[in-house]
Symmetry: C2
Subunit: 277 residues, 2 copies
């Protein structure tokens, strides 16, 4: 009977106070895109966003907290979650947390997670909305867009071509946790165009030369919304791949909106009927 009860004992937190500790350096290195690409890892900071990770059934490879700061219920819950899942838990000094944190007054926890990449949807259902972003450059915009796509119940986001990294610290922070909920796929322009041929509904592109008001178009379901990058907008080849081009009206001399704003207006227009208080 004794031999049956070899339940794996949750490991205890490991204490680190040295700024030159190898684990500290390895976590800090995840601020570099190259390191994130090679390891497939990323950082998420703050108990609220870590709660979202837990609800989405992610498991931290590493969870870092400051010694003496883990007395709250939320903090203890997060530490148990990491230990029970076999994650590494590091109890660090204030100096170490400051080094790992992007905040001036870090009082919070940091988790290290495995990135998760989705594949392109093969059979989108009626009512599904997907969003595709061509060469988006600003991580704050990308994070905000992921948050908004989650808010309207989009099924996923396709990142096309040379885009900024949704797993950068700035992008993750701007998602407010939605990075753990929203499927993200990443493809080349060529892969996108091949796949797009089988999309059964409208592919809607926002374009300055369009003549249709985005509010007055009837979209064929399921809808794929296609947004170009900040500044240049949609490339020629992706513009041609759209079944509809629409435009957001503006007053006065302005000819463009912030990309996250334009995407939000479009997503609420497309998803409007599916949303209610």
């Amino acid at each position: 009977r004794a031999s049956q009860s070899r339940t794996s004992q949750p490991r205890a937190p490991r204490v680190i106070t040295s700024l030159t500790n190898e684990r500290v350096k390895a976590i800090r290195a995840l601020d570099m895109r190259k390191e994130r690409r090679e390891t497939g890892l990323f950082l998420a900071e703050g108990t609220s966003i870590l709660e979202t990770a837990r609800a989405a059934e992610f498991v931290p490879q590493t969870l870092v907290y400051q010694a003496g700061s883990a007395s709250s219920l939320v903090a203890r819950l997060l530490i148990s979650w990491a230990l029970e899942a076999g994650g590494e838990v590091l109890e660090v000094s204030q100096a170490v947390l400051s080094k790992l944190s992007s905040k001036d007054n870090p009082q919070s926890m940091i988790g290290v997670f495995q990135q998760k990449w989705a594949t392109l949807p093969e059979r989108p259902a009626r009512g599904d909305t997907w969003l595709a972003l061509e060469e988006i450059r600003d991580p704050g915009n990308l994070g905000t867009i992921i948050r908004t796509a989650d808010a309207v119940g989009a099924k996923g986001i396709i990142l096309i071509g040379n885009t900024c990294d949704p797993y950068s610290r700035e992008a993750v922070r701007a998602t407010m946790g939605s990075v753990f909920d929203m499927p993200l796929a990443k493809v080349s322009r060529e892969e996108f165009l091949v796949w797009r041929a089988s999309w059964p509904g409208d592919v809607v592109g926002l374009h300055l030369d369009a003549r249709d008001d985005f509010r007055h178009a009837a979209y064929k379901d399921p809808v794929l919304l296609l947004m170009g990058s900040e500044g240049p907008g949609l490339s020629e080849s992706l513009t041609r791949s759209c079944s509809r081009l629409v435009k957001i009206p503006m007053a006065g001399k302005l000819d463009s909106l912030n990309l996250a704003v334009a995407t939000a207006l479009s997503l609420y227009q497309i998803r409007g009927d599916a949303l209610s208080i």
Copy 2:
């Protein structure tokens, strides 16, 4: 006759190559909010945003450009504009421009301008829309909101209480030039509440506890849209000052949108009928 032709000769650019030059230090100091408050000045960077300043009939106190970079028509036009208006024009070395610029590869011009503050509107006309923001904290959000308010043809923005600075470099950049077009007023919560009593139309607040969908409410014109700060939302006293509370519907577990996104959705809803392609 000779005495009649004393037209003031446009001054020539002044050449600066020293990083420790007093003018360079004074311009650099405008990155500090305290310095902007004391001098009433702010920085705007990039020829496109400087073109907007010129169109809005601002005049630069100082215009900085890199030696050898002013051969384009736009650059020469901007230099003439500054010189003819009696502004100081500084031709600087690449090292000096790098010190003054927020960009990694500055190739552009920097202008120093006088801040402009509007007063609260006394008699809003029918069809006018104003936006009021309580204690907004993120300069990127504020800049994006100024840009969006310009895009929908709002008449102005009221900053209430302890807000971030619309004239910070980050906010100005996010406005993409709209900071030169959009009237900005700044008041305490008390001043706002006194003034609000005379607002003839609806004061619409976005609030999580609201039961009305923001899309289905009929707003009484002129509309003042009131948005709370990131996170806490509208304070009690400002919530009570609203004639209508509305909410943006969301899917799933999320309970909030990015503030610039929520403001944009609300402004397009309110201003929708006034906008067309």
